[in-house]
Amino acid sequence: MIEVDEKKMPWSKNLTMASLLATLENVEFCSVVRLNGRLVSSPKFAETIIPDNSKIQLLPLVAGG
């Protein structure tokens, strides 16, 4: 199992961040996530493998600086 924004979700082997987000709704503003506390940005979603028991937070980055 993994936690996405504090909600339990099933985990599967070789689950990537991109494939996880593809299953979620209303994530068009999610270009950055925290995966177990570490920032991962959208250019790296496809190559980022999610380990089992991970905690993920979706960051709705709109502005900055």
Binding site: D5, L39, S41, P43, K44, Q57, V62
Partner: protein, 712 residues
Amino acid sequence: MDKINLKEIKCISYERAEIKKGYTDKSLRVNLDANKITISPIEERIKNKFIGGKGYDLWLMWNAVKASTKWNDPENTICISSGPLGGTPGYPGGGKSIVTSISPLTGAPIDSNVGGYFGPYKKFSGFDVIQVDGKAKKDTIIFIDGIENKIKILEANNLPTDSYELSDVLTRHFDVDKPVNVSVVTAGPGAEHTNFGCLNFSWWDAGRKRVRYKQAGRGGIGTVFADKKVKAIVARFGAISMKSNNPADLDALKLVTKSHSKEIRELDPKQNRMSLVGTTHLVPIMNDHDCLPVHNFKFGSHPESRVIGEEVYEHIFDKGFDGCWKGCTVACSHGVKDFSPFTGPYSGKKVFVDGPEYETVAGCGSSLGIFDAHTIIEINFYCDAYGMDTISVGTSLAFVMECFENKLITLDHTGGMDLSFGNRFNALEIIHQMARGEGFGAIVGKGIRQMKQIFAKDFGADMAFMQDIGMESKGLEFSEYMTKESLAQQGGYGLALKGPQHDEAWLIFLDMVHNFMPTFEDKAEALHWFPMFRTWFGLCGLCKLPWNDIIPEDNKNTSEPAKVAKHLGWYADFFSAVTGRKSSPEDLISMSEAVYNFQRIFNLKMGFGTREHDTLPYRAVGPVTVEEYESRQERYDEQLKEKYELDISNMDSKEKVAVLRQKREEQYELLKNAVYKRRGWNNNGIPTVETVNRLGIDFPEVLEVLKKNGVE
């Protein structure tokens, strides 16, 4: 050191104006030529039109300066204002000051939004805005004492020269028992000797029992301050509460303050963690999106960037409350305790460093090829202590380093210093030279626009290449975001009134990442509403971060997530509660639009503010060199083939650079057309008479400026 010596030149007692619904309705003018102190009422029509903050500053400046006024003329004016909502304890970002002057870098009005307690203390002492003009003959301190109800002009001797020590000494001097009652504005030796001097605005950190400061960094207002021989402006005031602004509806104010504050306290730890890492979370994010300036904005990422981002600074920052305003839950003003510089006058001593923020890390780190957290902290410390803007320092040095690597300047020009990218020791030495006004540093301290002229005229450097790589527009150095792949952000920088600073419009993610605005009209629309909301924070005395850097969890389900409607509703409620003027989010835009257009016409008055001044160095638009092109060849080749439908099979990289440049520059000009149209400006970028009529800024002197520029 010996005791400081302050001699009273002028002192007046005054009756402190009662605050009504966020306003004192009084302005304070200090003229240093005649040592004259004047308190004047602010007219109702001015209040209704200019709101406060930057609006008040600009109105006073407009009436103080002539079209021919230069930054170092006595009539140039420094204005510092809070705003009707400024000074609300507990409201996130609710204590800002907005500073304006005619900039040494741009020759036009510059504005800077800064934390610290000065703005609220000044307002609660009885003045919505302070205006300082003229020039003192000797070092001077202006003291606004809202406890004793006195204004003093003091001649100062034997003061510390740098801001770090001066802020501390003056805070303790003006209220030895309660230093929390004091906020000081200071510059430093770097402000005297460069064109990008900043101002440090202090507050007393009760937890650490020390003075902290934030910077009004952009555009060289510190340089104007030093030129007027002002060593400090000090405000003293006592306890502040929610009632201090005498709001129209105290219960409504408490409710909206609690709501916004609570949300940030709950969501910031789940989102950007600014209360823990400040804005350093942006370093890895910008790097991964190829938007972190590396080697003078040549590239947007670097494998070593992780060592200068949040993962490192989280462990370096001193733990404790770091709000630059009372009770702010964003609390992003972090610092480094017991830092020991390895160069300069504080070498080997232990100091507290306020910062670094993202802009300093990127400008004085990655853009210089310096991937060392401690060197960045040391640069941050000295820039603040000397009173120099870290953004202009970093961007100017990056330009110098690229010129050096391209042999446009040599060891003969730099005093024998190797200024290749990554040379952290010589970067620091240049900063010390800037502050002393000596050596090659004295040239760097003039800023990129003047350096280009000097390098071309005196050193024979290639002006066309320097125009392409010198990251300045309107004379102001760029802040620290790569814009090559975001046309909207190119507009955000190039069309910003004061020059390329991201506080007006930051659209990189909405444009480049989210593809929220695919057409020119979409981008123009965003370049309308985004700057208007950002302008509004400067009118009211607020910080921009709580609007859209921490996002409600249900924001994604709203009809316009980009605008973060829930927060705009809270801001409208906040304004209504304090001022009694019932307002909606749409009203925030109309308040800003009047001031925004007025500032554009102010630029016009000063000889700028037309299409030709909204230009960008090509480095901000696309790859200048073959090296840059080939570093992202797949991306650029695809654009030429897919977007522009060109056959590039027989083109070499140099030809591709040229054709891509032609296409991208065309796009930027088309964007200008769309933005001007959306803003109600003519094709030369000047507001039309219809627009100024609609906004109610059709004052005779405004219409006269338009007429002089062929608009009637």
